[in-house]
Point group: D2
Amino acid sequence: MLWGSRFIKKLNNDALNFSSSLSFDVRLYAQDISVSIAHANMLKKIGILTKQECDDIVAGLAEIKAEIETEQWYPDSNEFEDIHSAIEKRLFEKIGDTAGKLHSGRSRNDQVATGVRLWMKEKIKELRDQINSLQHALLNAAEKHTDTIMPGYTHLQRAQPISLAFHFLAYVEMLERSKSRLNFVFSETDKSPLGCGALAGSTLPLDREFAANELNFSSLTGNALDSVSDRDYIIDFLNACSIGMMNLSRLSEELIIWSTSEWNFITMSDEFSTGSSLMPQKKNPDIVELIRGKAGRVFGNYVGLISTVKGLPLSYNRDLQEDKEPLFDSFDTYNVSLKMMAGVISSITINNERFYNELDGDFSLSTDLAEWLVTKDVPFRKSHEIVGKVVKYAEENTKKLNELSLPELKNIYDVFDESALNFFSVKDALYRKQTIGSPNPDLVRDQIKFWKTQLL
Amino acid sequence: MLWGSRFIKKLNNDALNFSSSLSFDVRLYAQDISVSIAHANMLKKIGILTKQECDDIVAGLAEIKAEIETEQWYPDSNEFEDIHSAIEKRLFEKIGDTAGKLHSGRSRNDQVATGVRLWMKEKIKELRDQINSLQHALLNAAEKHTDTIMPGYTHLQRAQPISLAFHFLAYVEMLERSKSRLNFVFSETDKSPLGCGALAGSTLPLDREFAANELNFSSLTGNALDSVSDRDYIIDFLNACSIGMMNLSRLSEELIIWSTSEWNFITMSDEFSTGSSLMPQKKNPDIVELIRGKAGRVFGNYVGLISTVKGLPLSYNRDLQEDKEPLFDSFDTYNVSLKMMAGVISSITINNERFYNELDGDFSLSTDLAEWLVTKDVPFRKSHEIVGKVVKYAEENTKKLNELSLPELKNIYDVFDESALNFFSVKDALYRKQTIGSPNPDLVRDQIKFWKTQLL
Amino acid sequence: MLWGSRFIKKLNNDALNFSSSLSFDVRLYAQDISVSIAHANMLKKIGILTKQECDDIVAGLAEIKAEIETEQWYPDSNEFEDIHSAIEKRLFEKIGDTAGKLHSGRSRNDQVATGVRLWMKEKIKELRDQINSLQHALLNAAEKHTDTIMPGYTHLQRAQPISLAFHFLAYVEMLERSKSRLNFVFSETDKSPLGCGALAGSTLPLDREFAANELNFSSLTGNALDSVSDRDYIIDFLNACSIGMMNLSRLSEELIIWSTSEWNFITMSDEFSTGSSLMPQKKNPDIVELIRGKAGRVFGNYVGLISTVKGLPLSYNRDLQEDKEPLFDSFDTYNVSLKMMAGVISSITINNERFYNELDGDFSLSTDLAEWLVTKDVPFRKSHEIVGKVVKYAEENTKKLNELSLPELKNIYDVFDESALNFFSVKDALYRKQTIGSPNPDLVRDQIKFWKTQLL
Amino acid sequence: MLWGSRFIKKLNNDALNFSSSLSFDVRLYAQDISVSIAHANMLKKIGILTKQECDDIVAGLAEIKAEIETEQWYPDSNEFEDIHSAIEKRLFEKIGDTAGKLHSGRSRNDQVATGVRLWMKEKIKELRDQINSLQHALLNAAEKHTDTIMPGYTHLQRAQPISLAFHFLAYVEMLERSKSRLNFVFSETDKSPLGCGALAGSTLPLDREFAANELNFSSLTGNALDSVSDRDYIIDFLNACSIGMMNLSRLSEELIIWSTSEWNFITMSDEFSTGSSLMPQKKNPDIVELIRGKAGRVFGNYVGLISTVKGLPLSYNRDLQEDKEPLFDSFDTYNVSLKMMAGVISSITINNERFYNELDGDFSLSTDLAEWLVTKDVPFRKSHEIVGKVVKYAEENTKKLNELSLPELKNIYDVFDESALNFFSVKDALYRKQTIGSPNPDLVRDQIKFWKTQLL
C-alpha cells in the first residue's frame, strides 16, 4: 500500500479486488516504465537524484520490464491496486530504498494520465496503418471492377447504375475521414501532463518540458487541475472508434446483403465464413455480421465513459478509473475489425455479370433520359414528369426501356428522337457521367491512381 | 468444426479467434451440460436414444463437468468456436459416436438460448438476495437513527428537516422496486426455447414440454422463429441492472458528499477507503466513487446491445453473439456493487449531532410555520408570502427563526401568537408530521418494523 | 412567481425562458386540473376548505380546462415557469384569494409527479390498443398466407422453408411481450405520490388515500423523499418504448429487404411509399425506413434520461425537469410508428409464388433429410456430414436436391431409399414439422385462431 | 408532390404527416435558398439557364425569403414533405415554368446535405463566439481571485490548497479544447456536396467547383455515393456538443456544491436562482442544475443518430432524415447553456474568506511538508510515511499542523527543523509552487494575461 501510514484498518479484501485496476491496466506496463525513466532523468537533471541513484532506478525498471515480457514476474490483483504500484513495489525489492525517491513530485494522477497518452499515441498510429491496409484492399478490388456494372441504391431501391469500383471508392473516402479524425485525436493526446502532481503541481522545481521531451510529446498540458481531471481526449478517441465502426457496419451490411441468394453478387471466401451445426447446406457471413454487431459495443463504450464523467467535480475522482476498459476494448475491437474487413475484401469473389443484363434498358436509366430532355430545353420538372409517364407506360406493358420503340416514346412526348434511344444502354451510361465524383470509369480510374499515390 | 463437410477452405485462424466466443461463454458450461442432459432424456423418451445411449451421454457429460470444475480440462479459444462445440467434441472423445446422436433435432440457436435463460434465472435470484442484504444493512442503520436530525435537501439546498432513518428508508423502497423489476425479468426469462431448432422446429417428434420440465422452466416460448431471434429478455435484464446501478449511484453521491470536510456527517470505515500516493493526509471514498462510476458502464452495456439488435432481420444473426459480454458484465458489476454498498453502509460512522444545532430554529422550518398559518385559515399562498417576509427579515437581521420575538413576528403579520413559536424547535418538527410516508419518527419506526418482517 | 417574497432581483428573462417547461408541459394541463380537483376535495374532507371554497375552486378549474380546450386562453412561456403555476395564476384571476388555499400541503414536486403518472397511465392504455391493432393486422395477413412458402433465414442466408404466416406470427408474439412489459410499467406507475409534499410530507392531516382514490390510483407510494425523487417508472417506460421500437425496426428491415428488386417478395402500397425528386422511376419504402430510423431516437431518449438521473442526490433537483421531453417524444414516436406499421402491413401486396419454385428441391431442405437419416438410426453428427456431402455433390453438378437420383444418393451413403426422395418437396416440408411452435400450417392455423380469441 | 407521375394512389395523410420534415427543417430555409441561387448561377454558367431565366429564379427566391422572414408565407406540414419542396412549389407560383428548370442535375440528397453544411458552418462560428464569452467571464472572475484560497479536491476530499482563479483557469483550458474540437468539425463540414445528385453525379456538365465557390466552401466532397450517404460530420458535431456539455456539467456540479449551506463558498445571483412553491426560505441554483441535466439530453442525441446510421447501406435511406432534430437540439442546448453559464459566472458572489482560516495549518499542506523532506534527501516514499505519522499524531491530538511544536515534530522524525514550520502557512503555500501549470499566483496572473491576449 502506497498510502498507508495514517490508516488503522486495512482495505477490505473484497474492496481491494473491487477497486484494483491491475487486471486491465497491466497492459500499460511498458508506458509506465517509460514514464518513470523520463521522470527519473528529470529528477537527476534538477538534482533530486544523483547520477548513481538515477542509473539504479533506470536499470531496475529495465529489469522489471524484461521480467514482465518473459513472464518471469506477474503481479497479482489481490495484492496491488494497479500496475503502477506493483512496479514501484517491485523496484523496492530490486534496488531498495532508492526506489522511494522515484515518486518525488509525482502523483499517480499525472503518472497514469501520461502513460495512457503514450499508449494512445502508439495505438492511433496502429489504427492509421490498419486503415491504410483496408484502403489498399478496397483499391485493389476496385481496380478490377471499374466497368463492373451494379445498381446504385437509394432506399435499397435501384436508383442509377454505378460500378463496383465506384462503390468501393466511397468507402476509401470514408476511411480517409477516419484517419483525419484520428489525427485530430492524436494532436489532442500529444501533450504531457507529467509534473502536474495530484492537482496542483509541486514545490519542487520539476522541469516539465525536459520530461515531455524525453517522452516525445510535442507540448505540455497547461493548468494542473485540468490536466489530471481531463478525459476529453479519451472520449474523442471513443468517438473516432464509434464512427469508424459505424462505417464498417455499413460496409458489413452491404456485404451481407450482396451475399444472399437473392442478390447473389458476391461470394465470401470459406476462410471468412462459417456453417451451421444443424443445417448442412449453410454458409454464413459471420465475420462481417460480427463487425456489424460490434459497432454497438463500441457505441456503448462511448456512452459508458461520457456518462461516467458527467457531473464529476474536479479534480481526480475514482470514477475516472472506468476510462481504461472502454478505451482498451474500443481500440481492440476497431483494430481487429479493420483487419478482418481487409481480409474479407481481399478474398471475396465477384459475380461480374450479375447485374449487366438486368440493368441494360432498366428503369434506373430514366434519370439520364430526363437529363437528355433538359438538354433539349425541357424544364427538369417537366422532363421528370414525362419520363415518369414513360416508366408507367413501360411497366404497364411489361417492357424494359430499351424495348420501347421511338413511336411509343413520341406518343408520350413529341420531342424524343433517335438519340434518346442511346440512353438506354447501361454500358454507355457510366461513361456519359460528366461530374467530378461520378462513376464515370475514366474518372474512377484517375481516382484509384490518386489514392494509390496518396497512401504510399 | 461442427459444420465442415461442404467447406473447402478452413476458417482463417485470425477469423476463428475473432469469432470464437469461448473465452467468455465458457461461463455457461454448467448450464450447457444441464440442457444437454435434459435433451438426451427427452430423446430417450421419444425413442431416438436407447436407454444405454442416454446413460452414456449423461455419464460423459457429468465427467466433463467434473473435469472443468477441477481444472483437469480446459478448452482452447484457438480450437473451438464456443463452449458448446467444445463440450460436444469432448463428449466424442469420451463416448465415441453415440455423442453424435445428442444434437438430433437441436441447433446451437435454441441450445444457447436455453442455457443463457437458465443462467439468468440463477443470477436474478442471486441479485435479489444481494438486494435483500443491502436493504437489511440500511434498515439496521436506520433503526439507530430515527431521531438523528439532518437537513432534507431539494436542489442540494436545505429544505426541511428529516431524519437519517427516513433518508435510508427512501433507498429501501427504491431497492424494493429493483426486485419487482427483476421479478418481471424473471417471468420473461422463465420460458424454454429448447426444441425450436435453428428457426423452424423439427420433423422429429420432440417433446418440448418434457424437456422444459426437466429444466424447471414454467412454460414454453411459442413461435420458433421468434424464440431464436428474441433478445428482449436480456435487454430487460440490462435495463434492470442500469436502473439498479443508477439508484446506487445516487446513494454513492450522497455518501461522497456527506464524507466531505464541509458536510462532515459521516466517516467511512478505513476498510472501504483508500489513501493517496502523494498526499499523506488523504482518505478517499473510492469504493462508492467506483460504484457511481460503474453506473455509466452498465448504461453502456444497454446501449451496446439494443443498438446491436436494432434493424436485424429474423432469425439468428451472428451479431447476436454480442449479447453475452454485456450480460455477464452487467450482472457482475451490479452484483458486486450491491455487495460493496452493503459493506459500506454497515461500517460507516455517523456524526449524530452534526446538524442538530444548525437546524434548531433554522429557516428550513418555515414551511411548517406556513402550514401553521393555514390552520389559522390563512390561504397558503398568502402564508407562503408572509413567511417569506419573516425569512427575509430574519436574514437581514442575521437571526435564526427561534431568535425572533413574538412582537417581531406580529409586526410582520398580526395573526402570529405564542403557539407559532413552538414551530421553531427542530426536535418537535419531525413528530409534528402527520402524513403517511413522512419522517415522523413513530411512522418511521413502524416502517422499519414492516420492512424487517417483509424481508424475512 | 409562486416563490417570490424573499427575492430581491427578478429571474433574468433569458433564464426564465431557459428554465420554463411550459412549452412542453402544457400537455399535462388536464392531468394537472384533475390532480387539483382531487386535492381540493381532500382538503374539504379534512376541513381545510369549506364546501363553498371547494366548489369555487372546482368550478374555476373546470372553466380553465374549457378555456384551454377551446383555445380561449393560452399561457405564455415568457411569463410562467410551467403549466402548473400558469393554471394556479389563472385560478386567482377567476376566483380570487380562495385560489391561494389550493396549494395547502402540496408542493409542485408531488403535484407534477402525480400528474405525470396519470398521463402515463392513459398513454400506456393507448399503446396497448395500438399494439392490438398491429397484431390484428398481422393476423389478418397471416390468415391468407399459411401456405405461402418463403425461405426462413439465419444470417440472411436461406436456412429452412417457412411460411409467411409463420413469419408474421413471430411478430405477434414479440408484440405480446411488449404488452407484458407495458403492464409491468403500468403497475409501477399506478401509485399516488400526492401528499408527499416537497420531500417530507406535511404537518397538516392530509388524507393521501382519499386523494389517491379520487384519481383512481391502486395504491400509494411510500416514503415521501423517495416519492418525489423517483423517476424509475419513467425510465422503465422509456425501456418499453425502446424495445418496442427495436422490434419494429426489425420488421421494417425485413419489409425493406422484401421490397427490393432482388427479393421482389412484397409490394408496398403507394399510400405508404414515396418517389424521388430526381429519379422518375423510384418508389421508396420511406415509412418503414423512418420507423427503423426512429428506433435510434427512442434509444437516445433512454440514454438521455438515465444519464441525467445518474449521481443525483435526493430529493428533487431541477435536472429532473428533463424527464418530460423524452417521455413525450418516446410515446409519440412509438405510438405513431405502431399505427403506421399497421397501415403498412394492411396494405402490402404479397408475391405469393415468388419462392415456391426456387425452394422446391432446394438445399434448404437438407436439414429435413438429415433428420430422416436420424430416424434410420444414423447419429445426427454423421447424418449432418453425409448430407453435407450430398449438398457439395449437387452444387458441383449444379443440380437441385430434387434433381438427384436415388443411385446418386446411394453412392454417397447406402442407407438412402425411395422415401428419402419425398423430403425434397417443399410443399410437404412444412406439414412434416412436428414440434410446438413450428411452421406446420395446421399448427399455424391453430395459433392464429388462438391469438384472435386472445386479443378480442 | 415532386415525384408523382408514376404513382396511382396518393400518400396516406397520416403517412405524409409522419414523414414530413417541414416542421423542423423550415429552419433551413435561408440555406436552401442560398444553395438554389448558387445552383442557378452555375446552371447559367454552363448554359442550361439563360441569363433571364436565372435572374427570374434568383429574384423569385429572394422574394420567398422575404415572405418567410416577414411571416407573409408559411408552408404547411400537411401539404409538403419538407421545406425544399415547399420553396420549389412557391417558386412555381411566383415565376411559372421556369421554376422547373432549377432542379436540373440536382437531387434533394445533395441539395439538403449542402444546406445542412452551410447551416452548421454558421452555427459552429456562433458556438465559438459563445465559448469566448464564457472564457472571458471566467477570466474576469479569475482576475479578482488569484489569492482567494480554496481547497483543491481529489475524491471531493481536501487535497491541497489552490486559488479560485486557478480553478477557473482549468475551465478556460477545457473550453479552449472545445473550440479546437469545433475547428476540426468545421474543417470536416466545409466541403460542398452540391452536384453529386442522388448518388451518381450527372450527365450534365455541372461545374461543382463554381457552385462551391459561390457558397464559400473551401473544397468539394469527393465520391458522389459517399457524399450523399455521409453523416459523419454531424456525428462529429454531436460529439463536440456532448463533450462540451459534459464539461459544463462538471462546472455546474461544482457551483451547486459551492452554493450549499455546508460549503457556503459562493452565492448565486437572484437572477439565476428560483424559489419553491412550498418552502418560503428556498433559493435554488436551478439554472446550473438544468445545464447539468441537459448534458444527458445531448448525449442521447449522439446515441440516437449514431445508432440510426449503424448498418445502413449506401446511399441515402430515409432513416437519415432523423439527423436534423438531434442536430438542431444539440446546437440549441449547448449554445444556450454556454450563454446561461456566462451569465451565472458573471453574477456570482464569492465568500473570499470562507476557507482561509480552515486551511491555514490544515492537513492539506502535508504534501508540501513531504516535499520539504525530499529536499533534505529523504526518499519520497519515506517522507510520505513520516508525514502520514505527523497527520495521525495531530489528528489524535486534535491539533492542526500549525499547532504542532518543533519538539513534537522532531519526536516523530529528527530531521525536522524550524524551516519546516514555514510550510504550515497557507498564505505562502501557493507562492511556493514552482511548476508550470501550478496555482502559484504569479504564474496564474501570467496565464490570465496570456488568455486575455489570446482571446482578443
